[in-house]
């Protein structure tokens, strides 16, 4: 990693009109992926030894957390204050808010607990848009086909068909809540076509779709009479019945005072999002601070089956410089508009519009073979040639990439004049908890929606399907969780934790690590160095 061309030298050598050389032929995609894609790195995947997925492949650092010791045991529950509620939603992003609103609309009293502030989530950062088959020449069937083939045919067809079928109704519901979308002059919803779509299907609100969605849902939740919100309240454990086989509540803590609180409930909906902040394989991430995979850990410990635990989406163009934006995205739209990738020797090395995993592997190959560009603080990357894009299309960066311009402007970088240094960044967890079309996991009383759930995207997610998924499945789970009438908990226990402890001991695994992680170490009063 230490070799590469120093940033200042590469900048001095950069010419907007330089000849970039011929594009090398891409001969063997499989070899490229197998050698350089992070999912295939040697030692990055292990077999799980205990739990519902014993014997399955899992990313190594995630496996450590799934097979870790809990934070609490029964002694900690004595004297802990108890709250009774119909439905508990854990997570305050788009999926959590949609689930809470659907449950409340159906008559449930809802408690929404979130680790940070309500709305702090990956939802708020989504720029692209939301997929829904609404154009005359599009159909629900085409949406299903595109989603399945995008996921290399490993998605669950029943879930995908539920997702695509909900699309138009989801848009109506969002508009009813007060969300705006871009329109054509005749008043139609404006659609774009993005990677993997056979026809334009991406509905959007400029490049702030996630922000517009999140602020509307956040306000709707805050204003709703039947929803109570607890902020700064991460879940540290779920609660089970005497047999350890049903989810009957959760134990929350407080980031402000550390006090534990027990919540007893008929149903728990996990909407905890992804795990970018675990920095798997040492990668930077585009995710928000709370994305530490807590929901996967809690679900696995209570016995839920998970899927695709070795498949993650690395976005090819995360910023590598300036360092405070390390890992933050430059939208795929920049490459779609014609921005080229150039290595430290001033050469193109890959067709920029190949699928994300291929472009990602090619960038990593350039970096590891010494053709990357190295900053003083040891970040490495390649150029995204934005000045050349601007020269060919004057004004394009200001008009179409407002969010990028605003962010780099703060750091004193002008992408119209100097190229951006980019490196792949950990973006999305393709798999997650196995669910049915109601968002129900394999554990009774436990639902999972949004990024924490798996099975929809196979091993690769298409742009715009995440925002659709959180609303579609969030609402499905909210309705189903409310209908679970007869699950009044008699006794709340940590029996499932005892089960896992026994299994860990029998397997001879160390119990030194505790999980869930809640916050990355560098934010929990530690040293910042990413």
């Amino acid at each position: 990693m230490s070799n590469g061309i120093p940033l200042t030298e590469a900048l001095a050598r950069y010419r907007i009109d330089a000849d970039l050389g011929p594009l090398p032929e891409l001969t063997d995609i499989d070899a490229l992926l197998n050698t350089y894609h992070p999912d295939h790195l040697r030692d990055s995947v292990v077999k799980l030894e205990v739990g519902a997925n014993a014997g399955d492949n899992c990313q190594r650092e995630l496996a450590g957390l799934l097979q870790a010791e809990a934070f609490i045991d029964e002694a900690d529950l004595a004297g802990t204050p108890v709250t009774d509620i119909d439905v508990l939603v854990i997570g305050g992003g788009g999926a959590g808010c949609a689930a809470a609103l659907a449950a409340a609309e159906n008559g449930a009293r809802v408690l929404l607990a979130t680790k940070l502030r309500l709305g702090d989530s990956n939802t708020v950062m989504a720029e692209g848009g939301i997929q829904a088959a609404i154009e005359p020449d599009d159909s629900i069937q085409r949406h299903i086909q595109d989603t399945l083939s995008g996921g290399h045919h490993l998605g669950d067809p029943a879930l995908v068909s539920a997702l695509a079928g909900d699309g138009p109704e989801v848009l109506r519901w969002l508009i009813h809540q007060g969300m705006q979308f871009d329109q054509t002059p005749s008043g139609d919803l404006h659609t774009r076509r993005a990677g993997g779509m056979s026809t334009p299907r991406l509905v959007h609100c400029r490049d702030y779709t996630g922000l517009e969605m999140m602020r509307v849902l956040r306000e709707a939740v805050i204003q709703h009479r039947s929803i109570e919100v607890w902020e700064q309240s991460p879940a540290v454990e779920l609660l089970s019945n005497e047999l350890g086989q049903k989810c009957v509540g959760a134990v929350l803590t407080s980031l402000l005072d550390g006090q534990l609180r027990i919540v007893r409930t008929r149903s728990v909906i996990l909407a905890t999002g992804g795990l970018g902040r675990l920095h798997l394989n040492g990668f930077p991430t585009s995710n928000h601070l709370g994305a530490t995979g807590d929901g996967l850990v809690l679900a696995y410990r209570i016995g839920a089956r998970l899927c695709e635990l070795d498949s993650f989406q690395y976005h090819p163009t995360g910023l590598a410089h300036p360092s405070h934006l390390a890992g933050k995205l430059v939208t795929e739209g920049a490459r779609a508009a014609g921005a080229l990738l150039v290595n430290g020797l001033g050469r193109r090395f890959i067709d920029e519009l190949q699928p994300r995993d291929v472009v990602c592997a090619a960038i990593l190959r350039e970096c590891s073979e010494g053709r990357g560009i190295r900053t003083d603080d040891q970040h490495v990357g390649v150029w995204l040639d934005t000045p050349r894009l601007e020269r060919a299309n004057p004004g394009i960066l200001e008009q179409q990439f407002t969010s990028l311009m605003t962010r780099t402007h703060v750091a004193g970088i002008d992408p119209r004049r100097e190229p951006l240094l980019v490196h792949p960044t950990l973006h999305y967890q393709n798999g997650g908890a196995v669910i049915d079309t109601n968002g129900a996991t394999t554990v009774p009383g436990l639902y999972a929606v949004g990024e924490v759930a798996g099975g929809i995207h196979g091993r690769n997610r298409l742009m715009g399907n995440a925002l659709l998924e959180i609303i579609s499945f969030g609402r499905r789970a909210g309705v189903a969780a409310t209908a679970d009438r007869d699950r009044g908990p008699k006794k709340v226990t940590l029996e499932h934790v005892n089960h896992l402890r026994r299994a860990l001991t029998l397997a001879g695994l160390p119990m030194t690590q505790r999980a869930p992680q809640v916050l990355p170490a560098y934010a929990a009063g530690g040293i910042w160095n990413r």
């Binding site: 990693m1 230490s2 940070l116 502030r117 709305g119 702090d120 989530s121 708020v124 950062m125 829904a132 088959a133 609404i134 005359p136 629900i140 079928g165 138009p168 848009l171 109506r172 009813h176 809540q177 007060g178 969300m179 705006q180 979308f181 329109q183 008043g187 139609d188 919803l189 702030y208 922000l211 517009e212 602020r215 509307v216 956040r218 306000e219 709707a220 805050i222 204003q223 009479r225 902020e231 700064q232 402000l256 040492g282 601070l289 709370g290 360092s323 405070h324 933050k328 603080d377 040891q378 970040h379 969010s403 962010r407 703060v410 934010a523 009063g525 530690g526 040293i527 910042w528 160095n529």
Partner: protein
């Protein structure tokens, strides 16, 4: 990556910028954001941080440079010598209540708005909200537009709002401008966004459902 980074920056030169965060002295590297500086300096209890790119509105800080006091977002503000930084507590729950599902008709919106936000017409033009906004929104003007019933234009003025609610904190009349802006955007979509292509597809799907039900009844 991490280890080499630590040695390069920690061992090479001493941090060059001295500031205080939540009352603690912190030495930071030039170019660090205030969030990074807080983590780097080990300042405890900094959990009002979210997206780190200026769209979630969580990391609200109060800043003092000499006698000048301002507010901003910590992930978008960079370290300076001698600046005093205080991370602000989360905003308290809003004082204005409405559920958009309760609105059956747009004709009485003006009356409803002033009932929900009675303070909105009492702006004293102090520009406190304009100065507080980290996104450069013309907040005061947006509130005036909403108070005049021009919700579409008011909502457009608040397009870049990230709901940090710093304008709410700045308002001596307790107007809650961020919520006025969001209200304006929401009623505009709720009552006026009726896209023909979406409505057409919804109707097609409804007809399909009716036919499927009929087929199933016939089978029985």
């Amino acid at each position: 990556m991490t280890t080499s980074n630590t040695t390069a920056t920690e061992g090479g030169q001493t941090p060059a910028v001295a500031l205080t965060i939540n009352g603690l002295a912190v030495n930071a590297h030039p170019g660090m954001s205030l969030v990074e500086a807080a983590w780097h300096g080990g300042v405890p209890q900094v959990t009002s941080v979210g997206c780190l790119e200026g769209v979630c509105g969580s990391c609200r800080v109060m800043l003092r440079r000499g006698k000048e006091v301002t507010v901003g977002l910590a992930c978008q503000t960079f370290v300076e010598d001698n600046i005093e930084v205080v991370f602000m507590p989360p905003a308290s729950a809003p004082q204005h209540h409405y559920e958009i599902g309760d609105f059956k008709d747009g004709w009485d919106m003006h009356a409803r708005f002033h009932k929900i936000f009675p303070e909105a017409s009492r702006c004293r033009h102090c520009h406190g909200c304009d100065k507080a906004c980290p996104k450069g929104i013309t907040v005061e003007n947006g509130v005036a537009l909403a108070a005049a019933g021009r919700y579409r234009e008011a909502g457009e003025a608040f397009f870049e709002c990230v709901m940090c609610e710093l304008c709410d904190a700045a308002c001596p009349e307790l107007i809650a401008p961020a919520h006025v802006g969001l209200f304006s955007r929401r009623v505009t979509a709720h009552f006026h966004l009726r896209p023909p292509n979406l409505i057409h597809r919804l109707e097609e799907l409804r007809q399909e459902r009716i036919e499927t039900c009929r087929d199933e009844d016939n089978k029985k």
